[in-house]
Amino acid sequence: MSSLREIIHENVREGELYQKLDRKWVRCFACGHCCEIPDEQPGVCKVRYNQGGTLYVPWGYVGCIQCDPIEKKPFFHAYPGSLAYSFGMLGCDLHCAYCQNWVTSQALRDPAAVAGPMRVAPTELILDALHQGGRVIVSTYNEPLITSEWAVAVFKEARAAGLLTGFVSNGNGTPQVLEYLRPWVDLYKVDLKSFDDRHYRQLGGRLQPILETIQRLYSLGFWLEIVTLVIPGFNDSVDELTRLAEFLANVSLDIPWHVTAFHKDYKMTDPQNTRPETLVRAAEIGKKAGLRYIYPGNLPGQVGDWENTRCPNCRELLIERYGYLITGYHHSARLLPGLWRVYSWTMGCCVLPTDYRPSFRAAYGPTRFVCAELVGSRTSSWLSMAKRHVAETDTSLLANPARTSSRVLM
């Protein structure tokens, strides 16, 4: 019987994100490690490997597929209530002791992780996604950056089929991989696991490449949401959460920040599960830093009003949630950053991309967008109502558009 390594090595093709060096070495740019890899060796991720001076990368299989509400990814400001079709491959550039997907992410590193790959073609995945009612297709479960070439192949087909595309990633990226992904990836979730470089090294990475990736994702115009899994005793100190929230606020006040509850998993079984009070404390730290959209997650019904989305200016209730479920969606002339569906009852459903209408983008920044569903010819009058609401309730925004644009911090 073939070993997992042999099966994976049958499903590869030459990578695009690498550079050939002398002595048959290569330098890979798929993740922030930028491994220099000798001949006959894999990179840190174990799935990208050098053979004879050529870098081979995973291709043509999935380790796991699943269709879930997009809120589970979590994306709260992109197509609320839609189904997101998720697929993953195998391997990760980090080795977090609390990984919830360790069976796929630690394959080839931990002998106990034995997820079996399944061969597919991109079109088969897209047909399955459409069949299951997916509106969005997301590369997740393992670290998608290290399998970017395959994700882009799938996303090209997804775009043709009218699906939105997304990455659920640890954010350990490089300028090269983000440029490579920009034309094909709409949504990007970064798991910002800590704000302490020593903690990051315990997980197998460094803090700096992740912070740089977050700044770059925002300035390149990906729709960006951040998740921080709050782990008691690991990253829940007031100081660390404050520095983290202030960093995000300096990139943009409009980035949604999900502070989610840890539960014991994989090798991390010492810390207690995160309590609702801890999440609410983290959310209040984010609010104090100026962030407008903070969502404590994984504890449905236990964090009060924090699960909902309100207009940051007048506090009107716009989206009500219970965990992954949308329990109320209020039509209202309000502007919210994100990607929202616009319905035209006579013409079917259409979608507003983030950068539609240059004048709108100029006025409100690259990611400020319209919340609620619009009906046919009322769109333009509705938009002017929404603009007027912002003008009346948040004058500082119009006076100082720089508040929503990216600023380099570190």
């Binding site: 490690h33 060796q41 990179g43 840190v44 090294r201 315990q202």
Partner: protein
């Protein structure tokens, strides 16, 4: 936790590990000068892994021609002292002159 470079490195100092390390935590690198007064490549008997900067990726292990590098939990008992020897050179990128002198007599 970290990886440890043990006795087989003494006299070998191949440096393939230095080249593959994604976080540059193996010192001293060949033909690199440091400004904190640490002994350079030609002045040390072996290479050292900085225990606070190591990210436990293991990239250095397969490229070592003399199998000198081990994860802490797999370090052979006879080479246990090398944990302290590795840490005596630099910790967090900082040279440890006192500790290093003691270890080297």
């Amino acid at each position: 936790m970290a990886y440890i470079i043990a006795e087989p490195c003494i006299g070998t100092k191949d440096t393939a590990c230095v080249d593959v390390c994604p976080v540059d935590c193996i010192h001293p690198a060949k033909s690199r000068s440091y400004d904190d007064g640490r002994p350079t490549f030609d002045e040390v008997p072996q290479l050292y892994i900085d225990p606070t900067e190591c990210i436990d990726c293991g990239a250095c292990v397969p490229v070592c021609p003399v199998t000198a590098i081990f994860p802490l939990e797999d370090l052979p008992k006879k080479w246990q002292a090398y944990t302290a020897i590795n840490a005596s050179y630099v910790v967090g990128g900082k040279f440890q002159p006192d500790k290093f002198q003691i270890k080297r007599g």
